[in-house]
């Protein structure tokens, strides 16, 4: 297939491109104009564009069979992220609607779920966030990115697959929000035995490409996690041990952290009504989104696509912390 990949220069994007090449696909990669070309060979066609500024995107769809859309902002204020992630998606998909391309794979995130209402195991049936505006900028943008893609899919009759990875980690991206917060040498862990929805970048890229290749994935949504057997304490310990960064671990039960956040929220409401603004650790819904102890399942991926993560946790660790920086990238080619 000839595949258009947006966000191709990003952390996940580079691995998806590598995986597509291994699988024999032709790749047209969109990277931002000011970004250097990643170390791809001539077999990757690079198109430089920023969806916020580029007016004519129709030509990037010439000869394309499927689109893997990963472009999104991961930092910046709400306006910056909304413009990059949502308005950018809107512009890309408006251009797509004027072409014959029908296949779209959107890489979203588990943050679109309503973690406060989630119970037991987080699955694709978990309720979505309906009122995201008191959440962080990234969450608001991802919720709206999905809404835009779903709405335009409904209008144009596309084949849409939504992938919702958990914490994507890998080389140089091993520090994840689920570890807690670091204050100087102190590492606060909220719920040290909470299971982490980890998705190693190699596994995640494999799942994205597998869903694109499989026509059964059309119209479906998949949570992308490797497994949920790794808990915060172990992940932090491995991170410290293998990265050489130590710290003073301070475990705090999840309910204590949530209780503090709820008390702070209560005081804020008394003092400031609904206008109060609290840091994410003291905002109960945002706290839950980061640390709520749930189980995470990839059952739908297994059942519908027969997918299993190619790397287990030990292999992921080995590739993430390998002394040779090319090991992880090359791993994509071997898997």
């Amino acid at each position: 297939m000839r595949v258009l990949v947006t966000g191709a220069g990003g952390f996940l994007g580079r691995h998806v491109v590598a995986r597509l090449l291994v699988r024999g696909h032709n790749v047209r990669a969109i990277v931002r104009p000011a970004s250097p070309r990643p170390s791809w060979g001539p077999d990757v066609e690079v198109f430089y564009a920023d969806f916020r500024a580029h007016d004519n995107l129709i030509s990037v769809f010439d000869g394309i069979d499927a689109v893997i859309h990963m472009a999104a902002a991961t930092s910046g204020n709400e306006d910056v992220q909304f413009t990059s992630t949502v308005v950018g998606t809107e512009r890309l998909l408006e251009a797509m609607s004027r072409t014959a391309v029908k296949r779209l794979i959107l890489v979203s995130s588990l943050v679109v779920y309503d973690w406060a209402r989630a119970r037991g195991t987080m699955a694709e049936t978990t309720p979505l966030l309906l009122d995201p505006y008191d959440m962080g900028a990234y969450t608001i943008a991802k919720v709206w990115q999905e809404r835009v893609a779903s709405s335009m899919t409904g209008t144009h009759g596309w084949d849409l697959t939504i992938m919702r990875p958990g914490f994507i980690w890998g080389r140089n991206h091993a520090e994840i929000a689920g570890m807690g917060r670091r204050f100087g040498p102190v590492q606060l862990m909220f719920g040290p035995f909470t299971r982490l929805p980890l998705s190693h970048v190699v596994n995640c890229a494999d799942a994205v490409v597998a869903s694109m290749e499989n026509p059964n994935s059309s119209g479906l949504t998949f949570n992308v996690v490797d497994a949920d057997d790794i808990r915060v304490w172990r992940y932090v310990r491995e991170y410290w041990h293998r990265s050489g960064r130590g710290g003073i671990p301070v475990p705090l039960p999840y309910v204590v952290g949530l209780g503090i956040a709820q008390f702070a929220s209560f005081v804020s409401r008394i003092l400031f009504g609904n206008k109060g603004k609290l840091p994410s650790l003291l905002a109960p819904r945002r706290f839950q989104q980061q640390f709520k102890p749930l189980r995470f399942s990839n059952d739908t991926l297994r059942a519908k696509l027969g997918w299993t993560p190619p790397l287990d946790f030990q292999a992921c660790l080995a590739r993430t912390y390998a002394p040779d920086p090319d090991v992880e990238y090359n791993a994509v080619k071997r898997t």
């Binding site: 000011a34 920023d50 500024a53 910056v80 308005v87 809107e90 709206w144």
Partner: protein, 352 residues
């Protein structure tokens, strides 16, 4: 009593500030919002529980005849949108600068006068609590005779990951006179004008401190001689200490405020007596004022008050003027004079 109605054109970050301020008013209803991005318009409508959203402002203005149109688009779109509104006889509250070119402002001014419409600019720093405090010190005589105003606005626009230097999507400010700094000049101009009055003489200097940035300039200084007093105004795009400091010097006192951290304000007043003792008392007094202001600023942030400290009052006064059919809160002539000052900041040949 009939509620006043309004619409908002442009749904970016500043629009949220406008909408939050309007929601505090009991006598105003925002009936629709508009943005070129359907998702942004719909998200804004959902967030603020507004009934209708549009992607074409002309269709919106065909469907509604609001008492006030908030124009919160990027500056390059202000002129055409404001012109359409004023031509239709609608009152306008526009983000600064109302126009990129001064000659376009004069056209809008004429249109507003002919159609008896309000043409307000968001000059929210006039309503800033610290500025009002300083004005009170001045009007009550505590500050003595006004000698000088110093305005120093520092915002690190050249630092890493700055949206102002993002080469993937050039910032709208690059299309303004003076480049990115042009986005901040209206604030500097009207704030200086508040104290100096009409400008008699002006000297400016522009510089580029960081050589490898895409910005044409990143430092600006101006000396303004006004009818009432003189002002020194500066913008630094290189300082890593962001702040908006205003110091007003009088014969009996100086007052200094950082407008990004209201209501922190420090005053130093003349005290007769033994210099060493007075110096100690002054230090204690100043420290106390800074500490009180810092604690208050911290709680204001927790309370959700944004850095647009004066905007709610400006918007409230604008609607009150509409309701009571009075003159707009900032007279159009003063908006003209500050627009003219911005034009002179950026046109060295116009300075005397």
């Amino acid at each position: 009593m009939r509620k006043l109605t309004s619409v908002v054109i442009g749904c970016g970050a500043i629009a949220r500030e406008h909408l939050a301020a309007v929601q505090e008013l009991n006598n105003v209803e925002v009936v629709a919002v508009c943005d070129l991005s359907a998702a942004r318009a719909e998200a804004t409508a959902e967030r603020f529980r507004i009934g209708k959203w549009y992607t074409d402002y002309q269709i919106m203005l065909h469907d509604w005849r609001p008492d006030l149109v908030h124009i919160t688009t990027s500056p390059s779109a202000h002129f055409s949108v404001a012109k359409a509104c004023l031509t239709a006889g609608l009152n306008v509250l526009c983000e600064k600068p109302i126009t990129v070119e001064y000659r376009d402002f004069l056209l809008l001014k004429q249109l507003a006068s002919e159609n008896r419409c309000m043409l307000m600019e968001n000059q929210n720093l006039r309503y800033h609590s610290s500025i009002r405090h300083i004005q009170h010190l001045l009007s009550s005589g505590q500050l003595g005779e006004l000698l000088e105003v110093q305005i120093y606005f520092a915002l690190n626009v050249v630092g890493p990951a700055s949206p102002y230097t993002d080469q993937n999507a050039p910032h709208f400010g690059l299309g303004l006179r003076g480049g990115i700094i042009g986005d901040f000049l209206p604030h500097i101009a009207y704030l200086a004008y508040v104290f100096t009055g009409p400008v008699i003489d002006l000297r400016t200097t522009w510089a580029k401190h960081t050589p490898n940035s895409p910005l044409p300039t990143d430092e600006f200084r101006a000396l303004i001689r006004g009818q009432r007093t003189n002002a020194y105004a500066a913008f630094s795009g290189n300082s890593r200490l962001n702040g908006y400091w205003v110091r007003v010097c009088g014969t009996k006192m100086y007052a200094e405020a950082n407008l990004l951290e209201p209501p922190r304000i420090a005053v130093r007043r003349f005290r007769p007596g033994e210099p060493a003792v007075m110096s100690l008392m002054e230090g204690i007094s100043e420290s106390g004022a800074i500490l009180r202001g810092t604690v208050a600023a911290f709680f204001r942030k927790l309370g959700g008050t944004s850095s647009y400290d004066g905007l709610p009052q400006l918007i409230a006064d604008t609607y009150r003027a509409l309701e009571e059919k009075q003159e707009q809160p900032v007279p159009l002539q003063e908006i003209d004079e500050t627009a003219n000052l911005v034009d002179r900041f950026t046109n060295p040949e116009l300075t005397l």
